[in-house]
């Protein structure tokens, strides 16, 4: 008897025992769903982060009061905010690069053009002229800030697409004016459209000079500045970082031997932190999937035992006409594996669909998690083997006469 024969038998028994088969398939599908779903999510997130970091470039790094991804139990209050004065001193002390820009932002601003107004949801960013170079932000129309814009503290703004759609519909906004709070700004540039990440539009923002921002729009509560820095060349990155540590310690008045009261992130440290997060999702998905699959395995063993019992006469007939133990074993093995793989296939489809829906909801580009899919199929096959051993042995060792007599 060949494998094809057994696979047909397997589908036969799925068809005959629809409910039972459905429940089994479902439990496997859930397990695989968890694994593949987590896998897809991780691959997609990794894809996104890699893309974003590539946009920024590998020679940029950031200083802020607290780490970008905070670990549990680290108090925020113990560190004093990074002030504008400290930033100015830092900038003066930094000799290795000019590409430095502090920045700060406030969410939930309303931007107006005459009668037209945005919702109270615009992200207002204050920064300096090098911000765009350092963070890989492209300006598609108009120009970025000049040194003059910043030192003269001009009322100029660079705006995102969403703002244009809302308050400058079908117009070229360059040269026009908009108002935020008490201030009026001339539009000098348009930011490259970025689309949405995690369901949040990246284009609903306007950028103005830092000092304007701090004077008129900053949150009254201790707003701490973030500083972005870019080394001139890759070879200079580590010396520039050393420089930045030194300058910041002086600016923050940290005595030798005392710990830093600020945090410095490079692409690498961010990737590291994210990969920790990814590992968590992966491990979580894997383990919950694994536990579901173990439960499914126990379920399958049970179902196959019931199947063996129900088909005792069939087994008796097969043995009576000359089926050897091996054939009976194979039949039940292949049947179990087939059920597991069909369940796995459903799970993979569910997982991909689930991750797809989630990803498109939050604006992630889907990455097909090929390793996880292959891994799931392998796991399902092994599951079938393990779950099938006992029922298959039981079937193979039935006594033909007793089996034929079974009612």
């Amino acid at each position: 008897m060949n494998i094809g024969e057994s696979v047909i038998l397997a589908f036969d028994s799925i068809r005959v025992n629809k409910l039972r088969a459905f429940l089994t398939l479902l439990s496997i599908a859930i397990g695989v769903f968890a694994i593949v779903g987590a896998g897809t999510l991780v691959s997609s997130l990794e894809g996104m982060i890699t893309q974003q970091l590539a946009d920024v470039g590998e020679t940029s790094f950031w200083i802020q009061r607290m780490p970008k991804i905070q670990r549990m139990g680290e108090g925020r209050s113990r560190r004093k905010p990074i002030t504008y004065t400290q930033y100015k001193q830092f900038k003066r002390l930094m000799t290795s690069t000019d590409w430095i820009s502090a920045y700060s932002f406030t969410q939930g601003m309303t931007v107006k053009n005459g009668n037209l107004s945005t919702d109270q949801d615009v992200n207002l960013i204050g920064c300096e002229e090098y911000f765009f170079i350092i963070n890989g932000t492209n300006i598609v129309e108009g120009r970025p800030f000049t040194e003059d814009d910043i030192t003269s503290n001009r009322n100029v703004a660079i705006i995102g697409n969403d703002v244009i759609t809302k308050i400058f519909p079908n117009q070229n906004p360059l040269g026009k004016y908009l108002t935020v709070g008490s201030q009026s700004y001339e539009i000098i540039g348009v930011l490259e459209a970025k689309g949405a990440t995690f369901g949040q539009s990246q284009d609903n923002k306007i950028v103005i000079p830092l000092t304007k921002f701090l004077t008129y729009h900053a949150n009254e509560f201790e707003q701490s500045l973030d500083i972005s820095i870019k080394a001139y060349k890759k070879e200079l990155l580590s010396s520039t970082i050393d420089d930045a540590y030194g300058a910041m310690r002086v600016a923050r008045n940290i005595k030798p031997g005392e710990e830093n009261t600020f945090d410095l992130d490079t692409n690498d440290t961010i990737t590291d932190q994210f990969s920790g997060f990814m590992t968590f999702i992966s491990v979580f998905g894997f383990f919950s999937g694994f536990i579901a699959l173990i439960a499914a395995g126990i379920g399958i063993t049970n179902i196959m035992l019931v199947s063996v019992k129900e088909r005792t006469r069939e087994i008796g007939i097969r043995k009576a006409v000359g089926a050897k133990k091996r054939w009976i074993m194979n039949q039940f093995f292949i049947e179990t594996i087939t059920i597991c793989q069909v369940g796995g296939l459903f799970g993979i489809l569910l997982g991909l669909a689930g991750a797809g829906i989630l990803s498109s909801a939050v604006g992630l580009k889907i990455v097909f998690p090929i390793t996880w899919v292959v891994f799931s199929i392998v796991i399902c096959t092994i599951l079938g083997l393990v779950a099938g051993v006992y029922p298959a042995m039981k079937a193979a060792n039935l006594d033909p006469i007793e089996a034929l007599r079974y009612e």
């Binding site: 008897m1 006469r313 043995k319 000359g322 089926a323 054939w327």
Partner: protein, 236 residues
């Protein structure tokens, strides 16, 4: 004594079951020799051990004591797999209750022994088809058992027993579940097979049926009561 024509040779075969600590003899001390192209009927009242003997002869069951040589080979020396192979190649068993796979077509049922003998799909398909035609079921090949009459089901069972061209056909009350007219049809089939040179052992409790055989063995309480040549063999 010339043993070259002997298919089955059993000596002092007993089958004992423990029932509540007491040994119960299903058959006791039976010795038999069955030669090629014999047509043997086994008779006896209910519980006399007919089925037990048949199952042992068909290598489905093993005796508690005694020796059994099938074509000169000692059954006691054989493994489960060896016995499966003998059942597959040498023995065609027809059960009183048909024992067909309910969800498979007549063709699939008849093919089953050939699957286990490792025959190629195309080959076994043709042989199974021809065997079904031989038993008069040319127009019922793809019917499932529950779409067939009792007599037709028994024909399928006979076809399955014949399909491997076994050395011997064992039939345990093949007409027991059939009306007399269909019973006659099945007996006719056996008669034809015997005429072609097959060896047949048949269990029955009807004299009418037993008269088709050329040798009749009568069992009582697990013992052979009489073993005689039938001089009045009925020719269909």
């Amino acid at each position: 004594m010339d043993k070259s024509n002997t298919i089955i040779d059993i000596g002092n075969i007993s089958k004992v079951y423990e029932m509540g600590g007491e040994p119960v003899y299903a058959i006791r001390d039976i010795s038999l020799e069955i030669k090629k192209n014999e047509y043997l009927a086994i008779m006896g009242p209910s519980g006399s051990g007919k089925s037990t003997l048949m199952n042992i002869l068909g290598c489905l069951d093993t005796p508690t004591t005694g020796r059994y040589f099938f074509k000169g080979n000692d059954i006691n020396d054989m493994t489960d797999n060896d016995l499966a192979e003998i059942r597959n190649r040498e023995i065609g068993f027809v059960f009183q209750t048909f024992n067909l796979l309910p969800r498979s077509s007549a063709l699939k049922n008849v093919e089953l022994p050939l699957i286990y003998s490792g025959m190629k799909k195309s080959e076994r398909d043709e042989i199974a088809r021809n065997t079904l035609i031989d038993v008069g079921l040319a127009d019922r090949i793809s019917h499932k058992p529950n779409e067939l009459s009792g007599g037709q089901r028994q024909r399928v069972a006979v076809a399955r027993a014949l399909v491997t061209s076994p050395s011997i056909i064992l039939a345990d009350e093949p007409t027991g579940n059939l009306d007399s007219k269909t019973g006659v049809e099945i007996m006719h089939l056996f008669y034809e097979l015997w005429k072609k040179g097959n060896t047949i052992i048949l269990v029955t409790h009807e004299e009418e049926i037993a008269l088709h055989a050329n040798r009749i063995i009568r069992l009582r309480d697990g013992l052979v009561e009489r073993d005689e040549i039938n001089h009045h063999q009925r020719i269909e």
